[in-house]
């Protein structure tokens, strides 16, 4: 909302400082986005008079204009058609600061030779002065503009550009802003009660109005003016509209726009002669019907949209935009002026469905008071009479099926202070509310007030709203600061939170860089990265994606990680370890999707020798597995690993991570096909852990085990077994002997001295008892039992 300060001063007699006002408005909830000095580019521009217009000797479309600037005469070249001798115009001398009509930048005017004639200055258009985008003709000033006066002095203006919050329709009007400003300055705004003089026939004999949808139209007021002459508005009116950022069109339309800016109530002027049957019907649209708005665009309507109709057809989309068929034209002589109240949700629905947001709809959808229709209608009627002539019919149409007086709000003095943490007296509270023009009466009991807000403050309905007003007017800065004094509520922290934190810390400890990818992805990326089973999960799609790249929600972290690795590889030669932790979205049969929290890491080797004393370490399956083992060990989890069959990974180079019988993750070398799809041409290893599933399986209360008191004895063995025997099988057998407290494999060998189809596995067994020191004989006895059992179960032969 652009508010010219001079307009504001019509209602506020107290002097004020702009900077102080900006601060007060901002603190009280209406942020002043900027203070625009309309004259900032008017240095060197003054009121001039055209004394002569001659043709340009070398160009048909240009003229030579002699301008009197009061002190001297200047000859300038002008391209505008509307320049004429005798006009008062805005004259820019050489050296003036102006807005370039083509680029919009501020430039300094230089003397120039145009088609062979020297031009000493310029006659300005509205655009060059920053008044509007109009660049076709020059700005013609009123005849009484004083010759030679700097334009800044004559029509300079300071404009406040306000960011209006959705709850304050009143701030979308100059009188509303004036009332707000007055309250903040602790004075009062002088807003006159408008009226007009009706003559001749009564409007009730001329027009009928019928509201068929009272739920969407609580009030419809109208006046009728006959014998108007459509033409240009007077300068003062044009100037105000321009300064408020509204383009002047014609006197009648300008008058309705002016009153909308002044009171916040949108008005619509119909050409009365185009209204069939002199009848207005307010009703829902015919579903699917077509309607051409005054911007000459045909729009399709739904049965939920509210329309203004005459006896035969639809003539306006209520509160949003008028119709082409009833528009004011140059030939209009009778004007039916509408000032109505519409349901805000209905207007918002219609505006957003049609993609139409107008100055009117923005006001209606914020919820205007039905009590606003009459003052605005009276003011607009009298203004049209003033600027377009004609005669207004006596009286007004005023159908008000939904008009209810405000019942008033009971406000407890103690609750005001209880909510704000203040100690405001009844007087302070009353005075604050009176400043915003509330009517204050006695409440139900002595500690209460009955507050009736002024009609233009349709946002004040609850006690809390009144309390905010008190806080605003007294100033948020005057509310004290205290710390929460009550005891801290009992807490039952979600164990998942600590778990996530532990995972994040461990991953960085393992050297992984955290990345965050979008939750949105696309089916192509998912298709490239996922395995068969994952692809069968149809991801959740967005109804209207921003881009096809982000059409659905990720069901896996894999595509993001692979793409991240590939994009970093373009400039990163070294080894990379990246991880992401976050939700994936798995559609459920019914209701909201499941959002398991996943952890996924990706790693690859260095492409180059990175260190002066070390060869680059080549990552492989066991690098990745070692990291997962370290992670799980820290979490107190004993995982099992089984060969996996995920076709996103190379077959034979992948393992499922199993904890307590549950599959919680997978580790493996990314399949060549997948890697290639992401333009990765090197071995890449990835692991994925379902943290939501893993968390309940972790040991949260670890128990202390006494430090062993007796020495341990170590024995190494090497056994030869079938190549198909796994480490796990050997370990399972050895684990049956409680005196073996630790078993580690330190070599796996095939080749010379080992028969075809066999392999040698070398283990280091640690024997220890918690009751005594073991003798060599005792250890040997157990070791022999171990070897015998390995032979029985797995056909293992001791290698000598």
């Amino acid at each position: 909302m652009k508010v010219p300060v001079s307009w504001l001063k019509d209602y506020i007699k107290e002097p004020f400082e702009i900077n102080d006002l900006v601060c007060r408005l901002t603190m009280a909830g209406t942020e002043v986005a900027s203070v625009i000095d309309m004259a900032q580019s008017w240095e060197g521009v003054c009121v001039g008079q055209v004394s002569q217009v001659n043709p340009h000797p070398n160009a048909d479309r240009l003229r030579l204009v002699t301008v009197d600037s009061g002190l001297e005469k200047h000859e300038v070249v002008c391209g505008a058609d509307n320049v004429a001798a005798g006009q008062k115009i805005a004259f820019a001398e050489v050296g003036a600061r102006l807005i370039d009509g083509y680029t919009g930048d501020i430039t300094t005017l230089k003397q120039a030779k145009i088609r062979g004639v020297v031009s000493c200055g310029m006659v300005c258009s509205e655009k060059e002065l920053g008044l509007s985008d109009e660049h076709e003709g020059i700005l013609v000033l009123p005849a009484d503009a004083p010759l030679g006066m700097p334009l800044k002095e004559y029509m300079g203006e300071t404009v406040l550009d306000l960011d209006v919050t959705p709850n304050r329709p009143d701030i979308l009007s100059v009188t509303g802003v004036a009332r707000e400003v007055a309250a903040l300055l602790r004075t009062s705004a002088m807003v006159p009660e408008p009226d007009f003089k009706g003559e001749g026939s009564s409007i009730l004999d001329e027009v009928t109005v019928e509201i068929k949808a009272p739920d969407l139209c609580p009030r419809y007021s109208a006046s009728l003016i006959k014998g108007v002459t459509i033409g240009e508005s007077p300068d003062w009116l044009k100037k105000r509209l321009l300064n408020a950022g509204v383009r002047p069109i014609s006197n009648v339309v300008d008058a309705t726009n002016y009153v909308m800016l002044e009171y916040g109530q949108p008005l619509h002027a119909f050409d009365f002669d185009k209204i069939a049957g002199a009848k207005i019907i307010v009703n829902r649209a015919r579903d699917g019907s077509k309607f051409t708005t005054l911007d000459e665009v045909e729009r399709e309507l739904t049965g939920e949209m509210l329309m203004i109709c005459d006896a035969g057809t639809q003539i306006a989309i209520a509160g949003v935009m008028g119709g082409f068929n009833s528009e004011i034209s140059q030939n209009t002589t009778s004007v039916l002026l509408e000032s109505a109240s519409f349901n805000p949700a209905s207007i918002h629905y219609t505006g957003s469905r049609l993609g139409l947001s107008s100055a009117a709809s923005q006001r209606f959808e914020r919820g205007l008071s039905p009590f606003l229709t009459l003052p605005a209608l009276k003011k607009a009627t009298s203004l049209i009479l003033e600027v377009a002539g004609g005669v207004a019919c006596r009286g007004l149409i005023d159908e008000a099926p939904g008009l209810k007086p405000h019942p008033g709000i009971e406000v407890d003095i103690s609750r005001v202070n209880a909510l704000l943490g203040t100690e405001y007296s009844r007087d302070t509270i009353t005075r604050a509310l009176e400043l915003i023009e509330c009517e204050i009466g006695p409440g139900g009991h002595s500690g209460q007030l009955k507050v009736v807000p002024p009609y233009w403050r349709s946002d004040i309905n609850l006690e809390a709203d009144v309390i905010e007003e008190v806080a605003r007017i007294e100033g948020y800065e005057n509310i004290p600061m205290t710390m929460l004094s009550k005891s801290i509520p009992q807490q039952t922290p979600d164990p998942m939170l600590g778990f996530k934190r532990k995972l994040l810390e461990s991953m960085t400890g393992l050297g992984f860089q955290e990345i965050l990818n979008w939750s949105m992805t696309n089916k192509t990326a998912l298709g490239r990265a996922l395995n068969q089973a994952q692809l069968e999960v149809e991801p959740l799609h967005l109804k209207k994606p921003m881009t096809t790249e982000q059409e659905c929600l990720r069901t896996s972290l894999r595509p993001g990680l692979l793409a991240s690795l590939a994009s970093n590889r373009r400039f990163e030669e070294g080894a990379m370890k990246l991880f992401e932790a976050g939700a994936v979205y798995l559609p459920a049969q019914e209701g909201l999707p499941q959002e398991p929290w996943m952890l996924a890491g990706i790693l690859c080797s260095s492409q180059v020798k990175e260190h002066w004393d070390e060869e680059p370490e080549q990552a492989d399956f066991f690098t990745a597995k070692g990291m997962v083992e370290a992670l799980l060990d820290l979490l107190g989890v004993k995982p099992f690993f089984e060969p996996g069959s995920d076709n996103g990974f190379k077959s034979g180079n992948q393992a499922e991570v199993i904890v307590d019988g549950e599959r919680v993750g997978i580790i493996g070398e990314v399949h060549n096909r997948v890697a290639r799809a992401f333009d990765i041409d090197e071995p890449v290893f990835m692991f994925e852990i379902n943290a939501t599933r893993l968390m309940p399986l972790t040991v949260r209360d670890k128990k202390f085990k006494p430090i062993p008191r007796y020495p341990s004895v170590v024995r190494d063995i090497a056994i030869v077994v079938d190549a198909s025997i796994t480490n796990r099988q050997v370990l399972d057998v050895i684990a049956e002997f409680p005196l073996v407290v630790k078993t580690g494999i330190f070599d796996v060998y095939t080749g010379k001295h080992i028969p075809e189809g066999k392999k040698s596995m070398a283990y280091r067994l640690t024997f220890q008892s918690d009751k005594k020191t073991l003798t060599d004989e005792a250890v040997d006895r157990v070791l022999n039992q171990v070897l015998r059992r390995l032979e029985d179960r797995l056909g293992a032969v001791l290698r000598r």
Partner: protein
């Protein structure tokens, strides 16, 4: 005899002074302290001397022997020291060579800011809770006093999810803020409540240097008997003091959010211009940090809490803005570019 000893001493000392290396020192040792040395000869000849002389000459000779032996040890030690010094200067490490790499990974700057915020609020008794990122219209809007067709919805452009509606014609969406958890927590727990909710949120916005369709927020909610706006100001001021530092001034102004009344916006003094006004803060001197307010009575009711008995405050802040301002990052998209050249800077 005495003269002989003195002569020997002088000769030995002079000779020692010119010894330049181990080999010469060895030769010197053999010559003056060896079995065939003159000193030994003197000692052997002692027995042939009269008792009187034997005593004094013997003592004198032994003193000389000890002296020479000590000098020998000193000289040996000096040679040892010199040679080891030479040795180590040959073998000295180039300590400016880089160590063998042991890389620690880093957390994403957004994760770290979230952790920092959680710590601050946890120390003030706020419990961390998390909620679903895919939500119902009801929790994201309706229950928060933002009915259908409310203009406030226009400022929170929404990604709607293509999924069947739930009960009561509830539509599915990507949450536009972390505020839905206010309602979910109130539904489940009785007051007193003191929670914060970190998480991802989504807005239907075209991506550019200052806009991204997904970002993070932290929501806060405190509900109890007698919670005041003064508590809101105090709590958030304390947060700012710890997070931004005690030297940054804090401003609370009126603002509108449908789920609070009175509504509050908190700003901190611009760190660049110290409140004087600059390009970063749009000449205002203040950087908006969060929206807050006293929980709207309709929101308390929607959560099943009686607004006549309880009151509360809520706040919500965007996270990406904080590292953006702290590190003067000029493009918000970098956070989600997974570019290591960016991420390794933090």
């Amino acid at each position: 005899m005495n003269e002989q000893i003195n002569e020997l001493k002088k000769e030995a000392l002079d000779s020692l002074a010119s010894v330049a290396n181990r080999a010469e020192l060895d030769a010197w040792r053999v010559r003056y302290l060896g079995k065939k040395s003159r000193l030994q000869a003197i000692l052997k000849s002692l027995s042939s001397l009269p008792v009187e002389q034997r005593k004094t000459i013997g003592a004198e000779t032994n003193r000389l022997k000890n002296e020479l032996e000590n000098l020998l040890k000193e000289k040996e030690a000096a040679f040892e020291e010199a040679s080891s010094r030479a040795q180590s200067s040959r073998d000295a490490l180039d300590v400016t060579l880089p160590g063998r790499p042991s890389t620690l990974g880093r957390l994403h700057p957004v994760t770290r800011v979230l952790q920092e915020l959680q710590e601050i609020f946890a120390s003030m008794g706020f419990e961390v809770v998390e909620g679903p990122e895919v939500e119902w219209d009801y929790y994201n809007f309706e229950a928060l006093n933002i009915p259908k067709e409310h203009p406030a919805r226009d400022s929170m452009q929404t990604f709607w999810v293509d999924a069947p509606s739930g009960d009561d014609d509830r539509e599915m969406l990507l949450r536009t803020h972390t505020s839905p958890m206010q309602i979910r927590v109130m539904e489940k727990q009785e007051p007193p409540l003191r929670i914060i909710v970190p998480g991802r949120v989504f807005r239907y916005e075209a991506t550019d240097a200052t806009h991204i369709p997904m970002f993070h927020q932290v929501e806060g909610l405190a509900v109890d008997k007698g919670i005041t706006m003064a508590d809101l100001k105090g709590t958030l001021y304390e947060f700012s003091r710890r997070f931004f530092g005690p030297e940054r001034r804090v401003r609370f102004r009126c603002d509108f959010f449908p789920f609070v009344e009175p509504g509050v916006e908190m700003a901190v003094e611009c760190a660049v211009c110290k409140g004087k006004g600059c390009r970063l803060c749009g000449q205002s001197g203040w950087i908006e940090i969060l929206g807050a307010g006293m929980v709207h009575p309709r929101v308390l009711e929607a959560g099943g809490i009686d607004p006549q008995v309880y009151s509360g405050f809520a706040f919500g802040m965007g996270i990406e803005r904080i590292p953006l301002l702290r590190y003067s990052i000029d493009d918000i998209r970098l956070f989600y570019s997974s570019d290591l050249r960016f991420l390794r800077q933090f």
